[in-house]
Amino acid sequence: MKIRVYTFILLSFFSLTTCQKSKELLYTDIARIQFGPDPAKIPNVSQVTADTLKTQTFVYLPSFIFTDTVFFDIHTMGRLSDRDRPFKIKQVQVKNAKNAIAGKHYKAFDNPEIAARYVIKAGTVHTRVPIVLLRDVSLRDEAYVLKLEVEENDCFKLGQADLLWRKVIFSDLMMRPSIWNEMYSNLYFGTYSEVKHQFMVDVTEQRWDQEFMTKILMDTEQLHYWLGMLKSALIEENRGKEVKDHKRDEFGHLIVFP
């Protein structure tokens, strides 16, 4: 009796766990559209969900600049077309967050000037989707989030479910670049704070934004050059002062580079 029960449990377990529906869609003659990585990164399977979130700040830009553009890569499935194929994106609200407002924080996706850019050109399978951010005064107080999703239209059905969205968080404040994650905090940069970020910008005269940090993190020698400069500058800043007077962040914590 026991053997029968165990066998049943075992078989049930196998039948429940061995089959799982693939996230990837099979090509079935239907053109689909979805976000994805930079085409140059496609051979690298770990890059499939890269760039889902981007951060952007106007704080480094001169005061007379009122727009900035963030790009996301979008890809099609299915056959090539010999005509231009427009695609549609829409904003979706993020719970418990300051959601960006169309026309105030970003140029609305149905703005004819913008919508005209949302096109897969004839004979291609990829384009970069421009999101035009607007420098509203409210961005000086806090960061806003803009989550966007692709929409079905006459040209494209939806692609793979987990590749339909992208998110951009932006402000006119010092913002933690998304690449300044926990791993790089532990390895190189320490805990994020606006005071530390501003210190880094002031000492090095570099932006320390997503683009700059991504670039130097790929080059150990360059990274060490900038980190060495920061460490030396912080030591100089604190030299001769009591620990209580050492440079601290907006939370009162000592600023350190590991």
Binding site: M1, I3, R4, T7, L11, M218, D219, T220, E221, Q222, L223, H224, Y225, W226, L227, G228, M229, K231, S232, I235, E236
Partner: protein, 508 residues
């Protein structure tokens, strides 16, 4: 029992479906084999001058009509998608070689058109240029540095001198006086696609500048201005070296590093800090390195430190239990340090006491981060080594150090401390360097093997580098040959196609 029956049925049904139907794919014919004669395993050619002329003779155990595909590709290409260049589709290959000087693979695919069967054959090609085999001498003329080249067409014995090849190729001499010269097997330089790849290079270091150039054509890859992320404010170059995995550079006492194996742009990072307080330090140029070890001596604190390319600080070392001199704060100034052996990394150093300059000592160094060993002996002022200069250690072989004393070259047996006069240079010459170098070639490189103690001298702005063989630590009575030219020589170095990262010890 019933359950057991169910299990058996279940297992049998799996077994039943797991077997494919036999489709009768057995073959009882003899397998085809294509054999080839007339293709050597190895070719050596000079780019721009030689052609590969090969007339292979294939045969098959089947009725055959062959077609041919010749290709060439980079033996060390790090790009997994790198394509092979097709260089011929006929039986006979006549290929004027015009490739960058390095090792390449020659590939030949032979296909039997009647059976569709193919076999591949491969040879290595050492592509050289006029500059990829011969002796180089780094020298000073009027506070500027240049390099002479000596051809070696038949053996390691120098033939013709080509003067000032650095300035001939790059337009001007290097600023400053010569410090050192090194061969670098894998310095990152942009290739013809603009991608950085390991490049066989020659590195000249002067106290004011650096010239790292391709061995292939001696074209400059990096100078002091382009060698750093953030050019240091003061030019006081002391050394560049690598320990196989990483590169290290000391400028004005400050250590910089760069990854050697892996992606990179041949550009050094910022200076390393000594500690979390950025305590000032000033490294001696002398160093001990091998594979992934690197040790340096801070003249300010009289302390040894290790270094690692991923660590932004110098790494303190700790003494072993039975040392006779501490590796930290030992109040010494370093006059010389070099590598003795690398199977087990050891070296020797000559120290001078900071408080009493009349106190000099020699020490055996066995470096380690956690168990640093220094076995230290005070030198008696009557010993020749006490007033010696231009020190040179024998690497791996005899336990001997050579040094100059005025116009004399002396040896010191490091086991029994016996000193012996080996050679006296003519009265009108002064010794400018002593260096030991060795290369063991095999096959086509056998004639380029050498094992020399090199003694450089200056006679009124003319240099001589005497190449002495040695036996049991004693120099031969007269040199095997002499390199001569204009200027004051500081070092000499032989390069050839099979000289690699590990041929010469990374030391002074």
């Amino acid at each position: 029992m019933k359950a057991l029956e169910i299990l058996i049925v279940f297992a049998l049904s799996i077994l039943f479906y797991s077997c494919n139907k036999e489709m009768g794919r057995d073959r009882f014919e003899e397998l085809e084999s294509i054999t080839l004669t007339g293709l050597q395993a190895h070719y050596s050619v000079v780019s721009g001058i030689d052609s590969l002329i090969i007339d292979p003779v294939p045969s098959s155990n089947k009725e055959a009509e062959f077609e041919y595909l010749w290709g060439i590709y980079d033996i060390r290409n790090e790009d997994p998608y790198a394509a092979m260049d097709t260089i011929g589709k006929s039986k006979n290959l006549v290929y004027p070689v015009n490739k960058v000087a390095k090792n390449w693979y020659l590939s030949l695919q032979i296909k039997n058109k009647k059976t569709g069967y193919s076999e591949y054959f491969k040879s290595t090609i050492d592509v050289a240029t006029a500059y990829t085999r011969g002796w180089y001498v780094i020298k000073e003329e009027n506070d500027r540095t240049d390099m002479d080249f000596f051809t070696t067409p038949n053996s390691v014995i120098a033939d013709k001198r080509v003067e000032n090849v650095y300035s001939f190729v790059n337009g001007e001499k290097l600023k400053g006086k010569p410090v050192m010269m090194r061969f670098l097997n894998d310095f990152k330089a942009p290739n013809d696609k603009g991608e950085y790849s390991p490049t066989r290079s020659i590195c000249l270091v002067t106290n004011e500048d650096v010239g790292i150039m391709t061995l292939s054509g001696l074209e400059l890859i990096k100078d002091f201005k382009t060698l750093f992320h953030g050019e240091p404010s003061k030019r006081n170059m002391q050394m560049i070296g690598n320990n196989f995995t990483n590169y290290y550079l000391i400028n004005d006492g400050q250590l910089h590093s760069m990854i050697g194996q892996g992606p990179g742009t041949g550009t050094f990072g910022g200076r390393k800090l000594k500690d979390t307080q950025d305590t000032p330090y000033f490294l001696s140029p002398f160093h001990l390195m091998y594979t992934n070890s690197a040790f340096f001596f801070d003249e300010t604190s009289s302390s040894f430190f290790s270094a690692d390319v991923r660590n932004m600080n110098l790494i303190p070392v700790t003494d072993d239990a039975d040392v006779t001199l501490s590796s930290t704060n030992n109040n010494k100034r370093m006059l010389y340090m070099g590598i003795r052996t690398t199977g087990y990394l050891t070296g020797y150093a000559i120290f001078e006491d900071k408080d009493d300059l009349s106190k000099r000592s020699i020490a055996q160094i066995i470096p380690s981060v956690s168990q640093f060993k220094i076995y230290h002996k005070t030198l008696d002022s009557g010993q020749k080594l006490y007033k010696g200069d231009n020190f040179a250690l024998i690497y791996q072989e005899e336990e001997v150090m050579y040094f100059s004393l005025g116009k004399e070259v002396w040896s010191r047996n490091l086991s029994n401390n016996k000193e012996k006069l080996q050679f006296t240079v003519p009265a009108n010459e002064e010794i400018t360097f002593i260096r030991y170098r060795k290369f063991s070639g095999s096959g086509p490189e056998a004639d380029y093997s050498y094992n020399y103690v090199m003694v450089g001298t200056n006679d009124g702005g003319q240099y001589k580098v005497r190449m002495f063989t040695k036996s049991g630590g004693d120099l031969s009575a007269s040199p095997a040959f002499i390199l001569e030219g204009k200027g004051i020589a500081k070092d000499a170095l032989f390069v050839g196609p099979t000289i690699n990262n590990l041929t010469y010890p990374f030391t002074f």
